[in-house]
Amino acid sequence: MTNNTWSTDRYDTVADAIAKLYVKALKDMPPDVRDALTKAEQRETVKMGRTVLSTIQQNIAVADQQNLLICQDTGTPVYFIEVGERSGVNPVQLERAIRHGTVQATVTHPLRSSVVSPITRINNQNNTGYRVPVIHWEFVPDRDDVQVVIVPKGSGSENMTYFRMLLPADGVQGIKRFVLDSVVGSGGNPCPPVIVGVGIGGSSDLCMLLAKKAIIRPCGQPNPSPEVAGLENELLEAINASGLGPMGLGGLTTALAVHVEYAATHISQNPVAVNIQCWAARRGRLTVKNDGDITIGF
């Protein structure tokens, strides 16, 4: 069994890779999202919906051809990190590398800095601030790699975030109602067609985190539990039956997918959280193998 501790050099290499990853995520739509948008356009019958979806397709093509950002909102940089048990990484140094990479991308590309202090509204002009980038850690047994997923989380969709402590007596029925009302009530604000992230159970903080984690799953990939996958389908059907449509202007596709993540909860609780991801569902994945090999993907 290897247990190579990361060398100092490797953190520098990872910082550079994070800078590349951030910019790439803002320019290159994940293939699963491209597919979902194409399918939505093909099945759209409402004229306004078709106009909106073809404008989106054209925009993705322009971004590809001209090497431009898909959307101007560089988002809040949110990172999900999976640390393999035998990866040999030092989390403090990795966190530092991620912060450096975020600043480097912002300053050298340059990118719009979208991050400010909530108290003074001062913008450091480097997309970082107190406790930002947002970094979530997960520790995975029996693996020797590290994976870093970046989600530059756009604010139009992030502002459409909902949480409620439902009652156990409200059941799954209450959860469905809450999700449907939240998504449809958001209208065109989160730039539909959206990916709906739903967190169920846990404590309030975990529930919200699960909703965010749900949106980083490849678009339309079902939850491994058949029961939960069934719930995802039911919610997707209900949301799309509303006819809210692309940009809230009417059409068949309001959501490209609904992703549910859940956790055990307290006997007297029934928490539900909704985090919406816009059609510009940008993400990038960095994999660092134990031997130092680095790959960039989605």
């Binding site: 925009n59 001209q66 719009r112």
Partner: protein, 190 residues
């Protein structure tokens, strides 16, 4: 659905030909502003440094780079307009003829636009790559301390298509469509 190609500044006569659901393409100039810009204008009552009469004001905060002391576009798109709903009257008093953004405006703004013969033009949110190509240059920038929420003046060619989301006759496509969708959702049986 009519397609309009117009040149700025916009007059009442032109505005009154726009009907909800039409599309508009703009050549000329548009101003860029958003939360912090509008707070400075109307809450802090700073003197407005540009003549906005007949103008199109786009809710935006561009990504830019400095080349010498010139502002050069990197990525220019739009942002959610409903956040800035309470500033509609202020903009109308400056003679603004079209507010552009995404997501629409609310009921009170719909009425104000009708009274003032002005419209709301909706972009497809997130389509900054296309919009950046349609913006020829950043001509002027005021309040650089607010970066990226300065007051911007862009020269544009065939900027659009923008959807007439709220016309000057009181039709608001966003609210109409949303209330239909909310009603359908309310009666949906799981």
């Amino acid at each position: 659905m009519t397609e309009h190609c117009v040149t700025t500044p916009l007059t009442d006569d032109v505005i009154m030909t726009f009907r909800a659901g039409d599309t508009v393409t703009i050549t000329g100039h548009i101003f860029g502003l958003r939360d912090a810009t509008l707070i400075r204008m109307f809450d802090q009552k700073a003197p407005i440094p540009a003549d906005l009469s007949g103008s199109v004001c786009l809710h935006t905060a561009p990504g830019i780079k400095m080349v010498g002391n010139h502002y050069v576009k990197v990525s220019i798109g739009t942002t959610t307009s409903t956040r800035m709903n309470r500033f509609t009257m202020g903009l109308m008093e400056q003679g603004v003829k079209a507010i552009a953004g995404k997501g629409g405006l609310l009921e009170d703004s719909t009425q104000i636009l009708a009274e003032r013969h002005a419209v709301y033009l909706g972009l497809v949110g997130g389509t900054a790559a296309s919009e950046t190509m349609q913006i020829e240059s950043i001509e002027e920038v005021w309040w650089p301390d607010l970066l990226p929420e300065c007051l911007w003046k862009f020269r544009v060619r065939n900027f659009g298509p923008l959807i007439v989301g709220i016309d000057a006759y009181g039709t608001n496509l966003y609210l109409q469509n949303k209330s239909r969708a909310v009603e359908r959702a309310r009666t949906f049986c799981f």
